[in-house]
Structure formats: C-alpha cells, structure tokens
Amino acid sequence: MANSTIKRLLGNKSALSLLVLSLGAYFIGLLVQAIQLGGDVGISVVFSDWSKNWIELTFAGITMGFLIFILASGMTLIFGLIGVINLAHGAFIALGSFICWHFIFKINAAYRAVETVYWTPMPGVIPPVEKTIISSEGLFYGENIFNAVILLIAGIAFASMILALAGWLYEKYIVSTVYKDQPAQILITLGVAVIMIEVLLVFYGGSTPRIRKPEFLQGQLTLFESWDSGIGILYSRILSGVVGLAIFVFTYLVLIKTRFGLLIRAGVENKDMVEAFGYKVKTIFIMVFIMANIYAAIGGSLYSLNNRSLSLAVSDDILLVVMVSVIIGGLGSIKGCLIGSILLMLAQNYMNGIYPPLAGGMSAVIVMIAILLWCPEGLAPVGGNSNE
C-alpha cells in the first residue's frame, strides 16, 4: 500500500519536481549557512532559523504561484487552443492594473479628506488634467471594511469589463489576421504591446505611483506564535492565494463540466475536427481571448496590490515569468500551468533566500531548461497522462 503510494508519487513528475525543489533548496540553504557559521553552535542556531525561513518562503512562494497562475492561465488557453504566442499579454496585465487602480482613485477622490501627492506626470509633459493627484492617505474611504471590499471589487470588475472589450477587438482586428504565421504573430502582438505601453505612458507618465493597501489587508497573519516569534504570512498574499485557487477551481470546472469547456478542450486537441462538426471556432477563440483578458485584469490588479505600486515595467517582468510557467506546465494545460507557476515562484523565493543575484529572470530560465530537458512536453501535457 505504502509502496504503491510512493511509487505513484515518484511517477508523478509534478509532485516529484516540487518535492525535489523544495527539499533541495532547504538543504542547500542549511548547508550554506552552516558553513558560514561553522561548528556545532552554527548548526543548532541555523536549523531552527532555517526551518522557519523555509516555511515562510514556501508559503509566500505558493501564494505568489497562485497569483502568477491567474496571469498565466489566460495565456496557456490562448496558446493551447489557438496556437498564438500572445506576447501582448504582459501589456494587457499592466493595462488592467492601471485601469483598476485609476477607477478606484477616481471614485475615492470624491470622499478623500487629506491629499498627498505621490504621483507627478513625467517631466516635459504638461499634465492633461490641471493636476494629476493620486492620494495615498485616506485612500480607502473610512475604516469601513465593507466599503473597501466593494471598492476593490468594483475596480477589478471595471477593469475586467474594459479588458474584455479590448480582448474582443484585439482578436478581431489583430490576431485573426495572423493565424498560422508565426513570425507575423510575434511581430504584431509585440507591436500591440509596444503601442499599449506607450499609450499608458502618455496617460500616466513613467513614474511608479504607490498604492496603500486597504485596512483589512494590512499586516500579517501569525501562526505558531510560541515558536521563535511565529511564522508570518501577509494578508494580501492570502487574498491573492485564495483568489487564485478560486479561479483555478472555476476554470477547471468550466473546462470539465460545461459544453463550452468541452469545446475548448476539443479545440486544443484537434481544431479542424471541432470546426467540421459545425461549431463556430471563431466564437470560441473570441471567448477565450475575453476570458484571458479578464484573468489578466484580476491578476494585474492583485499583483500591483501585492507590490504596493503600479508600474509599467510589470509588462516585461511578468511576461517572462508567465511564459516560462506556461512552457513548463505544458501546452494548454490548466493544471500544468498551476504547477508551473508555483514551481517557478518557489524557485524564485528560495533563490532569493540563498543567493539573491540569481533570483528573477535567471532562476526562471534555469528552472525552465532543467524541466524541459527532463520532459520536453511540459509537466502535465494535455494529450498525455501525467500520472503514468
């Protein structure tokens, strides 16, 4: 019984890689610190400290992984179903976060009492409206949790609406002209990304406005308070983890239970056959783009909330992470996408703990190459059985 469980666990590539990565990082970290301190004293001190650090890093990595999953799931659907590399996804994420927070700032401006200017338009450009003021103090109206939650949800919903519209137009005018022509796809999607970033630059300037977290998301949840001042998890991280999990469950159910999901899955496997049965593949394509952009809006807003700032650099930084998690997850696979993004974020967090210069882009590329040489189809490809 136990033997077969272990066998299944080892046979499962995703579980195995997660296990190897987390334990490996743990022991490497232990080793590094023990060597630095030296002796028996070092080891005993290091051990307790590192297990605490390790648990914190792991929690943070998993919640961040869920957040990245929100961003990456749209791309993996587009990629799997349509075979288009949507390099404008990063720009859509930036657009979503800017629209969401602009909406919140605008609505909240009517109620705010104290104004602190954090945000000045770029030098040399006269501000469009006489003064662009984004208030930090008293951002979320009052202490009322209910109002803050409603405002946050309204902002995200508004951004989702705009991005859904943008996704529809984007598919209709840009992407539909370049099916089956890969170099043209790369060129045109990156062209759209450049245009969107430039438009955002016109409206918002190059600076990075700060966002103050609403009252109910400030601070951290402390577990095991008796042990070494406890393990802290930020509330905003918990929120993004919960939302990510909800979106994963929702998408999974849509894909498994509904007719629309059935068509998407069939389209990933064999597009021509779906068309031959008389379904309008074109409509499914548009729906997938809309879905992807709504996820981009939700994820982008939460991502900027976690970073506590809005930034246009997000579009480039995120695009790499999103792309790598799509690749290592497997083409068009939602489950693989989740595994991939968690794996990536774990790797990034551990790398930050062990050796910071390699974190970020390099760790993502290293993880990607290692995993692709091991299983070139990704961890959980749609066609194959990941639990063989």
């Binding site: 045109i188 438009v199 695009l319 040489l373």
Partner: protein, 454 residues
C-alpha cells in the same frame, strides 16, 4: 557575375537594379556624401554601417526562419556576444590587432558552442515551444548581462575607444572637406560583402537546397536518408557565428557595447522585421529590408518631430477626439496631443510593425518577384493582374483604415474615461461608440464587401 553570386538568381529586374544601386551607394558612401554636401555626415555614416551590419545579421537570421523554418528569438544574443567579447578584451588591453583576432576567435567559438547547445535543445523541443524557449533565453541573457555589471558594465555598457587599433580610429579628409573614418568603413564594407556572398554560396549549395527541403517537409527529408538533425545543427551554428561577426563589426564602429543596441528585445524585433519586410526565404530581401528599416529608424523620429512642431497635432486631435467641433472648450484638457511628441516614437514603431504585417506579409522582394511574372504582351492578363493587385491593396488599406478608426475610438474612450467627472466625459464616451460603429460598420464594410465580391 553569375559565379560571384553563386548562381542564385535575383528573380526580378527591378530588384536587381535596386540592389545594384544600394551596392554603389554603400561602396562610395563617404565620397558621395562629400559631393552632395550632406549635413550630419557622422550620423549618415553610422546609418550606412548599420545598414550593412543589419543586412548580414538579417540574412543570417533568414537562414534560420526563411530557409529552415527554425523560429528562434535569441539571435540578438549572438550579436551581443560578438560586441561584448570585443568590448571586454579591448577595455583593458593595449591597442593591437592581436586583440581583435583574439576577440574574433573567442566570440565565434563561444557563439558556436552556445548555438550547438541551442540546436540540441531544438532537436528535443519543437516548433512553438522552441520559439518560446528562445524568447525566454533572450530575456534571461538580458537580465544576466544587466546583473553582472562588474564584467559587462550593466545597463550603461562598456566604452572601449582606447584599446582599438589605430586602423579603426584614423580619420581621412575627403575632397578637402569633412573627415571620415574611411579605413574602418571599408573594412566593414568588404567583410560584410564577403559574408553576404558566403551566405549566397551557402543558400545555392546542395546544403542550402537540403535546408529548403527540410523546411517543406522534414519527415520526408528524413525518410529519403538525409540526417536532418545534423543539417539543423550546422545551420544554427553558421547563423550564430555570422551574427557574432556582425556584432564585432558594429561594435568596432560605434566603440561601445550596451544592451540597448545589442541585446534588447527591440533589437531582436528589428532583425525580425527586417527579414519580414524584405521577404522571408530570400537573402536579397534582407538587403532591401535593412535599407528600409534602418533609414526609417534613424530618420523617422526627426521628420516626425518637424511634423509635430507644426499645427498638425492640433488638427489630428480635433479629428480624433471631437470630429464635430461640439466641445470647443474641451480641446485643452484631452491628452491626445501628447501622443504627438518625439518622446513617443516607439508608438510609431509599434504602429509600423502592425502596418507591415498587414501590408508586407510576403516582403518587398517577394512582391517584386510576383510582378516579374506578368506577361506584358497579353493585355487582358495584365489588366486582370493590375486589378487583383489594386483590390488586394484596397483590401489591406481598408483593413488598416479600420484599425485607425478603432484606435481613434479607443482614444476617445480613454479621454472620456479620463475626464469622466467633467462635463464632456460622458459625451466623449458616446461619441467613441458612435465613431467605432459608424466607422467600422457602414463606411468601410461596404467597400470591403465590394472588394470581396470581385
């Protein structure tokens, strides 16, 4: 002549004339500029060098995407390897040719090794996956260079003027006029000419024909008995080595190695767009593409600036945001005119990407070759061909116009949202919707429908 170009046919008289003209201009550039009396001759010379470098860079990239259908997006990495190896060696060394040769050997062997590894990855990972992997690799290389700032200088890059041999720095007076770096220029000219002819030789050789066969049907090629994988590995290595040589040439002219000119994703895109505008699967196309794109990149922003200094932005702003002149007082607050500044030139590059995909999908060389097939004696046939071309042009033009209308509607929507709390905001939202629907549905769809009928 036929032997020099290895029997690879140009395919169109117009194209041949254009190519010969470009060759003559590049050959006599310093003297020609002096005769014409061109202003900013430094800048013009830099543009000429850039044309030659991008010509061979795009041709080597075309070996991959045009001839073998290997779509890699980390070609700029090899370009950067050449530049950075020259820069790192030259930074501390005394001047001397031996250092240049060391840099050439180092960069070519390094890029050959990397290309070999890349090709091995490419055997295991196919198609769209490979493209994404190479894209991620290019990003990774960029962050690697930026983070290792002790060796590579980070975002500021490396300046290495001191270490270069005198040969590359000497200035010679031309016709008692301005001074040009003639020796360096002709060194670059002849090296890039040799590389170009070498690539023509590759393409017309049995090796090149096999590559094209692999592009058409890899499976059948393998079934006949060709070792497809070794062919692929070889072509990736050749392309990488040529790209790193191009990097050395360009770095020897501008004497600086920075991520912005060698490694950015914009540079990769520029290589890609040179290939696409010139025409995929044709080495000659990359010459035309390089000329068009480099001249656009160097001179577009200054001409746009002249345009933007006039009252053109105000007129455009009027047309885009308030076509019916209803909100006279409103024109001060909309930010449309901030689109029309020199700072926003990347916006126009992005628009050009979209435009070129809409209109030049087959590339200029491909278009010129199509025209060659026209039988000028048969007038009916000629009429038909002209008509079909006109219809195609109209179709593409109207698609592009619809895009512009859509963008203008988007602009109105944004300005409306931006000023939602002011009086005109809601009005602009409504007019955005109107513009979009009127523009796209009635006006353009009818014409588009007509062009589809015939």
């Amino acid at each position: 002549m036929n032997r020099i170009i290895s029997g690879e046919k140009v395919g169109s008289k117009t194209l041949a004339v254009l190519l010969f003209g470009i060759f003559l201009v590049l050959l006599t550039a310093p003297f020609l500029f002096e005769l014409i009396g061109i202003s900013y001759s430094e800048r013009a010379m830099k543009a000429m060098v850039q044309i030659m470098v991008f010509m061979i860079l795009a041709a080597s990239y075309d070996l991959l995407i045009g001839y073998t259908a290997i779509i890699s997006l980390c070609h700029s990495v090899f370009f950067a390897i050449g530049a950075y190896s020259l820069a790192i060696i030259m930074r501390d060394a005394d001047s001397g040719w031996s250092n240049v040769i060391i840099a050439i050997i180092l960069s070519t062997s390094l890029s050959a090794l990397l290309a070999f590894i890349l090709a091995l990855i490419g055997i295991r990972i196919k198609n769209i996956y490979f493209t994404l992997v190479t894209f991620a690799l290019a990003f990774g290389a960029l962050s690697f260079v930026v983070k290792l700032s002790e060796i590579t200088g980070g975002l500021d890059g490396l300046i290495f003027e001191k270490g270069m041999p005198e040969f590359f720095l000497n200035k010679v007076q031309v016709f008692d006029g301005a001074e040009y770096r003639i020796q360096a220029y002709y060194f670059i000219f002849f090296v890039s000419l040799a590389l170009f002819l070498f690539m023509l030789r590759i393409v017309s050789s049995p090796f090149g024909k096999t590559l094209q066969a692999i592009r058409e049907n890899e499976f059948r090629c393998a079934a006949i008995g060709y070792k497809v994988n070794s062919y692929k590995i070889l072509v990736v290595i050749i392309a990488a080595v040529i790209a790193s040589l191009a990097g050395i040439l360009y770095a020897s002219w501008i004497k600086i190695a920075v991520p912005n000119t060698f490694l950015n994703i914009e540079i990769m895109l520029m290589i890609l767009i040179v290939v696409i505008v010139g025409g995929k699967g044709s080495i000659y196309g990359s010459v035309i593409g390089a000329v068009v794109i480099v001249l656009l990149e160097n001179y577009l922003s200054s001409y746009l600036d002249i345009l933007f200094q006039s009252d053109f932005p105000e007129k455009i702003q009027m047309v885009l945001t308030d076509p019916f002149y209803l909100l006279e007082e409103y024109k001060e607050v909309v930010p449309i005119r901030f689109f029309f500044t020199k700072n926003r030139w990347a916006l126009y590059i992005g628009l050009f990407y979209i435009f070129s995909v809409y209109c030049f999908r087959a590339g200029i060389a491909g278009k010129l070759r199509d025209i060659k097939r026209v039988d000028f004696k048969n007038i009916d046939n000629l009429k038909g061909i002209i008509k079909s071309h006109a219809i195609k042009l109209a179709h593409n033009g109207f698609s592009f116009m619809r895009l512009v209308i859509f963008l203008s509607a988007l602009g109105q929507m944004f300005t409306g949202l931006w000023n939602l709390d002011q009086a005109g905001g809601k009005f602009l939202l409504i007019s955005a919707a109107l513009t979009y629907f009127i523009g796209s549905s009635s006006l353009v769809m009818t014409i588009w429908g007509k062009s589809n009928e015939s």
